[in-house]
Structures are given as structure tokens and as C-alpha cells.
Amino acid sequence: MKNVAFIITVCFMVAACAAPPPITVDEALTAGKEETLLWRLALEEQQVINSSGWLYRNAELETYLNAVAAKLKTVADSPDISFDIKIINDPHLNAFAFPNGVIYVHTGVLARMENEAQLAALLAHEMTHCTHRHSLRVLKSIKDRPGYMAAVQKSIEKVAMAQELAQFLGVNGSRTAVTGYTREFETEADRVGLDLMAQAGYDPRQALNLFEHLRQEIEIEGVKEPFFFGTHPSVQQRIENASLWLATEYSGKDTGLINSEIFRSRLDELVLDNARLDLRIGRFYIAQSSVEKYLRRNPDDAGAHYLLGEIFRQQGRQDDTEKAIKQYKKAIVLDPSFPAPHKAMGLMHYEEGERRLAQKFFETCLLLSPNAPDKAYIQGYLEKCINTGKES
């Protein structure tokens, strides 16, 4: 029963306003019962995530992210945590750290970054949550104060995306990471994270660029407040903090690694994959920006042109049909054996009642992809095209 109460406390341990008790960062890890339990719960939650089908599998990219984390770790004043960076296939802007050093980064936030220094800023922030043992400190601060639970629950509800994930995990786990930390800890993670990235040789100004870039996107799209850039403290407050630190402590230190080219080459595939996710959830503007970003580096990628065509076609605004056709045609020219743009062209002509044109594209599509998953639909439309031709 004691354990149940403890677990319940852990479940609600997020975002409490209590001042955390001092815990030195070099205190032995998992030395206490509480931290041992926290780590066990974290492992349980990770098992749920890892078997959920949400992980983005790209071993080469994971190796790259972990290499950046390893670089940051060498300068971190921290207990010996083994960091493990994993990617979640989700277009929302989010990242979260578990107390045992496992950090999940959404494809959405990676796709918006411009360089390795921005990645370092995000990882350094999340790593600080682990090295400074924020989960344990929050837990200790509210463990004996159940009155905080309601406030904590309320704050969870504000963080919509995190809440959804937390809800899914909630049955099995502790919400040890996904629902976030307190204002003090977020500020501490920002502050220490900035130091970390600078000590590792990265240009600290990129942290601010990342904040700014994401704030703009939040404003433009009205997207859900992400957890990493969440409500405690507000994005604006964090931008102001970072600006102040850069203007004072980092004044004149306007150099450092940025590593744009290597970052973009590693992230290319993810940018396109994430655009597909944005399209799936109907975020056409973001999907379009991402594909265009990708096409600037890979102008001859038939798949990207097809995807851009799909974005236009599904939006269905005025002039979008023409834009879509242009992209499909380009995709076909670049790769005539790619069946998807043929199908899309067929569907567009079919909807317009241009059955003969539709027939040609459907036939090519089925020839190129005789076992397409939606073959039954295409065959049906093709038969109607043929019958219409016979009638006329």
C-alpha cells in the first residue's frame, strides 16, 4: 500500500511549485529507495514506448544524435549516466528525458532544427534534467505534500501533447518524464544546458535561434504548446532569459561550432518522413515548408515532388490542382517507374470526369505496382473508365 501511495505521488509529481530541496549532482545515483523506484518506473514506461510502434527507426541517425550527446557529456559535471537518445515518430514539437538518461526526441522538433548546435541546445537541456536529477528532486519536494496534487494535475492538462502520451503511459507508469518539470527546473535546464553546449564548443547563440524559430512556428500554426518549450516558464520568458545570459555571460563569445551541413545531410530523410506525418494530421503549411526545405537540398527527388503534390491536392484550395499536377509531372519525369504520381494523376482526372486520361494513368500505375495495397480501388476506377469509353 505504501508503494501504491508512493507511485501515485510519483504520478502527480509534475510541475509543483515547491522549492526543490538541494541535492548535489554528484550524489550517488540510485543510492536511495526513491531513486531506484523512479528508475524502475522509467524503465517500465520506456518499454511501453519502445513497443508502441511510435519509435522512428534510423540507426545511423540515432548514432549521430548519441554522438552529439556524448560530446556534451564529456563536459558535463554529472554523475555517470549513460545517455541514450531515441526518436519518436511524431510531428509535434517535443522532447523529454527520463531520470535514467533515456531521452526521446520527436521527429517534429528535429525536422525544424537548422544545425547541430541547435540539436546540442536541446540535448543539453534534456540531459540537465537527468544530471541534476530533477525527477527525484520534484518527488522529494512533493512527496509529503499531497495538497499539490490537484495543482499538478491541472498543469498536466495544459500540456496537451504531453498529456496524451502521459495518459497512454499512465496506466503502466509514473509519468516520470513526459509531463515535464517545474519552472525552476526548466530554467535550470536552460541555464546549465547553455553552459554545456558552449563548453562543448557549440555556438550558444543557436539556443536562442532555436527558441525563436519554434516560437514563431507555435504562433503561426497555433500548434499545441510543446513540452520542451512548454508553459513553465513561458516560451517568451525563456527567450528573455537566454537573451540576457547571452548578452552578459557570453558577451563577445560569438563563435563556436554550428555544423549545418553535416546536420542537414543526416536529417534529410527525417525531414521528409516528418512532412508525411504533418500531412497526415492535416498541417499542410508545415508539411509544405518541410518538403520545400528538403527539395532545396534534393531537387531531383521524385518522392519529395510527389509528396508536395499530395499536400497541394489534399488542401484543395484554389490553384492547388495546378500546383499538384506540376509536382506530379515533375515526379514522373524524374522517376517514370514511381507508381504513386501516376495514381494521383489518375484520381485527379477521374474526379474531373476525364476518364480517358484517368485510364491511362491508372493503367500505368497498376503496371508499375501490380500488388499495390489499394489495387482494388484502382481496378474499380479503371473498369469504370473503360466502360465509360465503350459507352461513348
Binding site: S51, W54, M161, F168, G282
Partner: protein, 182 residues
């Protein structure tokens, strides 16, 4: 004393059964623009304000029939259906919607094919997913657009045991589905 106790137990049982029978009825199904024939043994949970029926409880299996204006955006994707949208396109929007639901994991489409429902060109999707408790469910989902309304009929059941058990009942419901002239 013993007799009194027996009488009390009998009364409790009788009233209990009556209450249970009252709960397990098809009363209060929402008024709809369609009609279906529901096989024996299915009932509507009172706490659900939808055209939802079950046999063993909605967490084990249910049939849900819905109608919605096509210009209403879906919850997870904000996408909308369109009048005269091809079934392939409507199916894609439904798949996108379900795949974007963060309350489920391991969403997997097994089959996506055209279908005719009450003479209307539509689609049929068969998929599986895992819920928060780790249970795996299988759903057979039919949908079509008629004028400005999207109609869907789905049969959802725990993959283990329940899906196969009542699929024939769902087919019977599906075959009896008819739009009612407003």
C-alpha cells in the same frame, strides 16, 4: 427467520434481474437517418450517448454506427471529407484520423478495399491496434458519403476470442443497413 431471509434474497434477485434487463435493452438509441436490424442479445449501454450496441460489454466488443456532416473536421487531423469524394480518398482520411489518435498504439491496417453499403459506393478498412492497457483490438470499419453526410459502421472487438465470435452478427447488421428518407 430462514424463510424471511430466503424471501429477501428472492426479492433482491428478482429486482436485480429486472434492473439488469432494463439496462440491457435497445432503448434510447439515438434518432438517426438510417435503420438496421439488430440481432438478439445486443444492448445499448445507458451511459453512452451514441448508436453503440454491445453483447458482452463495450470493452469486449461493440458495433458503432455514426453519421456526421462532411464539413465537420475530424478530431485528430482536422481534415474534412468532401461531397463526391472518392471512397479511396475518404478511406485515407479515416485511416489518417485513426493513425493520429494518441490513445492507441501499434495501429496496423490489414485491409483497405472498396465496398458497397446499402447501394452506396464506400470503403471497408480492417485494422488492429493496442489500447492503453495493452489489449489488442480488431476493427472492421465501413464508410460512405451520401449527400452531405458521412455514415460509418464499425465492429470493434478484442482480437482474442471476441472478434470472431460476433462478426457474423455485424455482417447481419451491415446487410440490413438502410438510409431512411428524411
Amino acid at each position: 427467520m430462514k424463510k424471511l431471509l430466503l424471501l429477501l434474497i428472492s426479492l433482491v434477485l428478482i429486482f436485480g434481474c429486472a434492473a439488469s434487463a432494463n439496462k440491457r435493452s435497445l432503448n434510447a438509441l439515438p434518432k438517426s437517418d438510417f435503420s438496421v436490424e439488430i440481432p438478439a442479445g445486443w444492448w445499448k449501454p445507458q451511459y453512452v450517448n451514441k448508436y453503440l450496441i454491445t453483447k458482452d460489454g463495450p470493452f469486449l466488443q461493440y458495433v458503432l454506427i455514426q453519421q456526421r456532416p462532411i464539413d465537420h473536421p475530424f478530431k485528430n487531423t482536422k481534415k474534412k471529407l468532401r461531397k463526391r469524394m472518392l471512397p479511396l480518398e475518404s478511406a485515407r482520411i479515416i485511416i489518417d484520423e485513426i493513425a493520429s489518435d494518441r490513445n492507441i498504439a501499434n495501429f496496423n491496417v490489414i485491409e483497405n478495399t472498396p465496398a458497397i453499403i446499402d447501394g452506396h459506393a464506400g470503403f471497408k478498412i480492417l485494422f488492429t491496434y493496442m489500447d492503453k492497457k495493452g489489449s489488442v483490438f480488431k476493427t472492421l470499419y465501413y464508410g460512405f458519403i451520401s449527400d452531405n453526410t458521412f455514415f460509418s459502421l464499425r465492429y470493434n472487438a478484442a482480437t482474442r476470442h471476441y472478434y470472431e465470435k460476433d462478426i457474423a452478427d455485424f455482417q447481419q447488421i451491415l446487410n440490413s443497413f438502410k438510409l431512411v428518407e428524411g
